[in-house]
Amino acid sequence: MSDLETKPGADTAAGGRVEPADNRFTRALSHVISDLGKNGIFIALILVVVVFEILTNGVLLRPQNVSNLIVQNGYILILAIGMVMVIVAGHIDLSVGSVAAFVGAVSGVFAVNMGMPAWLAVVLSLLIGALVGAWQGFWIAYVGIPAFIVTLAGMLIFRGLTLVVLGNQNIGSFPDFYRALGNGFITDVFGALDIDPLTMGVAIIAIVALIVQSVRTRRGRQSYGQEVEPAAWFVGKLVLVSAVVLLFAYALATFKGIPVTLIVLAVLILIYGVIMNRSVFGRHIYAIGGNLHAAELSGIKTRNVTFWLFVNMGFLAGLAGLVFTARLNLAGPKAGDGFELEAISAAFIGGAAVTGGVGTIGGAIVGGLIIGVLNNGMSIMGIGIEWQQAVKGLVLLLAVAFDVYNKRRSGGR
């Protein structure tokens, strides 16, 4: 009875949080634990990598395989970026696999059958991807048909159109510039060395940028009088991340250098990270997914946001289709089969909420990498496709279950 009455307002933003104990050690410990909880997805990735490194007797992290991991999963990661945005807004897109196949097929017609310059074929194909997105966005945003239905229809429509465009035959032998999207490496700019200096240089620049950014954020928080994590934990985390980046770069440098796919991905992650965290468009996506009613009352043009969200998804699906086609050097009718499910899984494993309003680009990328490592590791071990499917399904279920459990323990919404 009295319990019921005192509960409201006990842990509100105004009241401030109640620390269980006030000595430095417990505070540091509680920070580490809450950090581990927040970064559970990274820890899961590290665990999966370690497990498969052992199970594959060290094959997983061989330089060639590390490079393969990126190139093989690039198109899933590109799709995951768009998919997590769609899911944050409270929608879903089932059509991305078919759209990727369709755009790949169209690019084949442009680049091979019509003999267009490769750059023009790429630009036109991406435009068509965006147009496909606009078509679906129109039905979802302005007509008000649920995204599930529109994109389910899109899945069938664009799979069918892929067959129409291909005319029942594969299109192959793409020009070199086009193929570089999926197979190219930037390497040997400074001559053929054992360890590519460009790759290592880029890695070091990235590490320095990360450290500068982290220190600035920490200083900023301190100047606002906000609590920051203990110095030792802060430095330890930076050292750990730097070491991982260096090792990763070393692996690439001793193989063929930086894959073009990785550059495309890095640029996308940076741009979309800023869009989702800093831009009005990105924050409105969170607002729509978190509370559509509030977003509408606040004068946000929710329909326009939804429309452009799907245009963007179409664009990224098109890009994923190009990367995939370039990698296979072939536009075929079966391309992109099941991509949508891997992209959706990546977003959910990465912590996106089924109800919308929650999810990050970084989480989706890590989720995609977990799926990629599972695929790759089990293939190396020679596990059949049937068991691979079952394991991936279980991982998805457990990841979301863990997330739900975590949220419930920390007091719900």
Binding site: D11, A13, A14, Q226, R278, V280, R283, A287, A295, L297
Partner: protein
């Protein structure tokens, strides 16, 4: 003070004999009041008083049928045909659950839709500062603007919504019942927020049924009863009950600023003031005892009657949010053959108490004892409740559903269907509304119908069940079924807002059936927010507020003072 209200000096909103009617039949008649920038005007009124409709008319949701609404001397009707037009003028209506995005920071919630980006990007440092400033203006200095929206308490969510009005440069904010379902400390937070909105130079109109917080928040106000202005008050001056509804003294507002600070401490110091306002709130209550059951019917022979229903220490929380108490330590008794009223506004817990007695899963963390004719009720679901002799009829839309039957939202659990089925099969062609009372179910329309919205409110649609029958029909059928049912009469009957939305003739028929059912020996408990109904049929009444039973009184005299006695514990805080 009058020089401050010189034309053109500050914005003013004037209503001049405005009449309007909503689709639900509620509305306002010839309402007049004026409010200037930097002032709060209160509209005090219970359900069907027209308080919500007054806001809806100003906000562009309802078209006025007569009268003028003027903003700075210009006729609003010329520019405002729809809600969007009103919004373009900076007029906004806040009602229902506060609109907060849980995943965004408090600062983003304040500046939502008005982020002031630089090249499309948000400058978070500036946004945090700006949000903190706006929050300070509505009295929420202590909130961390970086915390997530989900960490805000209920009152804080409301006030963050107020800060959003400041951030987006609104001019006129119309707030509908901001005090519903709040703890006293939370009420203070909301009052401070409303006062802060006005201090920032906005025109604020607040509609509420809660007297004290409204008196503290408002500089002046109008009491509405049945759509008519039945009284006015000015902060610091005694309340003025109006004889003539149309003659609201708009000019009296000139004195509004005389002593606003002192006047806001009115609560507790001037009980007479609040009492007069409550009397004005019930000015429209007409007590019609109908035929066959004069006052004091039961009191005369009450001695020796056994209690049909006894409830002791009933406590229940919201079914989805166990931290939110809905009913607190409620105890009541209904004797055999007695009709007992349970008067409570929306959010008081009266309907929830009835629903919970019938079906325990209608709440969470339920505690308390129920005895039916002296025997402890151990029913865990409606089927067992009915078997024990406890039945329920409700036509009101509840805020949450008890179960899904074939995908149809309904407030009757799937277990109920067993009583309706033949050989376990639901026959779609069978007339369930007729079969239901025999099975112990009332308001069966709800079982097969979708959700409608009854009662007052600006957005209310005409009240009729989705089966196409007028509201109240299925309750009438249920009562008739119980009255001449197949031998088994219920021991206790729970009726949740039995005549909500029903036409007068049907309501009278329902009341007649209730009286006959009581005469036949059943104990009847009616939850309603319609005091005329309770005083018209009940022998005794309880009042509920904030989940508590706050008063018990016999219904013995056909006077409106009885209505005020019943309304006071519903809308006034306890005197300590």
């Amino acid at each position: 003070m009058t020089d401050e209200r010189m034309p053109g000096a500050r914005a003013t909103l004037e209503l001049d004999h405005v009449s309007a009617r909503s689709g639900a039949g509620t509305g306002i008649r010839s309402l007049s009041f004026g409010v200037g920038a930097g002032r709060v005007h209160g509209i005090l009124g219970g359900p069907r008083s027209g308080a919500s409709e007054a806001l809806a008319v100003i906000g562009g949701y309802l078209r006025p049928e007569a009268g003028r609404i003027e903003l700075d001397g210009a006729d609003l009707a010329l520019t405002v045909a729809r809600r969007e037009d009103a919004e373009a003028l900076g007029i906004v209506v806040l009602r229902g659950e506060p609109a907060i995005v849980p995943g965004l920071s408090v600062a983003e919630n304040v500046t939502l839709g008005n982020e002031r980006p630089v090249a499309g990007l948000i400058r978070f440092g500036r946004m945090f500062e700006r949000a903190a400033e706006e929050l300070a203006r509505v009295g929420l200095e202590s909130v961390d603007v970086r915390a997530r929206g989900s960490s805000l308490g209920r009152a804080e969510r409301q006030v963050v919504g107020f800060a959003r009005m400041l951030a987006s440069g609104r001019k006129i904010v119309l707030i509908d019942e901001p005090f519903r379902d709040l703890e006293p400390s939370e009420t203070d937070v909301v009052v401070r927020g409303i006062v802060g909105l006005a201090a920032a130079g906005l025109i604020v109109v607040v509609a509420s049924a809660r007297v004290e917080p409204l008196l503290r928040a408002a500089d002046a106000g109008t009491v509405l009863a049945g759509g008519d202005a039945s009284g006015t008050w000015v902060a610091g001056a005694p309340a003025d009950a109006l004889g003539d509804a149309g003659a609201a003294p708009v000019d009296a507002l000139g004195d509004a600023g005389a002593a606003p600070v002192d006047a806001r401490q009115i609560s507790g110091e001037a009980p007479g003031e609040a009492g007069r306002l409550v009397e004005a709130m019930v000015a429209d209550v007409v007590v019609d005892r109908g035929e066959g059951r004069p006052f004091g019917t039961v009191q005369a022979g009450a001695a020796g009657r056994e209690p049909a229903l006894e409830v002791r220490g009933w406590t229940a929380a919201h079914p989805l949010d166990p931290g939110r108490a809905v009913v607190r330590d409620a105890s009541l008794t209904v004797s055999a053959g007695e009709i007992v009223g349970l008067a409570g506004l929306e959010g008081s817990g009266a309907g929830e108490l009835l629903l919970g007695l019938f079906e325990k899963t209608a709440g969470s963390r339920v505690q308390g004892d129920v005895r039916l004719a002296g025997v402890p009720l151990t029913a865990r679901n409606p089927t067992e409740s009915i078997a024990a002799g406890l039945v329920l009829a409700t036509e009101r839309t509840t805020t949450y559903d008890l179960g899904l039957i074939g995908g149809v939202p309904s407030r009757i659990s799937p277990g109920m269907l067993g009583r309706l089925a033949r050989l376990g099969v639901i026959d779609r062609d069978r007339s369930y509304p007729e079969a239901a009372p025999v099975a112990g179910l009332g308001g069966i329309a709800a079982l097969f119908a979708g959700r409608g919205r009854g009662g007052g409110g600006a957005a209310a649609a005409p009240s009729a069940s989705a089966t196409g029958e007028p509201a109240g029909t299925s309750i009438r059928n249920a009562l008739a079924g119980w009255l001449d049912g197949d031998g088994t009469r219920p021991t206790a009957v729970l009726l949740d807002h039995p005549t909500a939305g029903a036409a007068d003739a049907l309501a009278q028929e329902i009341h007649g059936l209730i009286r006959r059912l009581a005469d036949a020996g059943a104990g009847i408990l009616i939850a309603s927010d319609d005091l005329g109904e309770i005083l018209g049929v009940a022998d005794r009444a309880y009042a509920m507020r904030d989940g508590r039973i706050t008063a018990e009184l016999p219904v013995s005299r056909p006077a409106t003072t009885t209505a005020a006695e019943l309304m006071a514990p519903m809308v006034l805080a306890d005197r300590r």
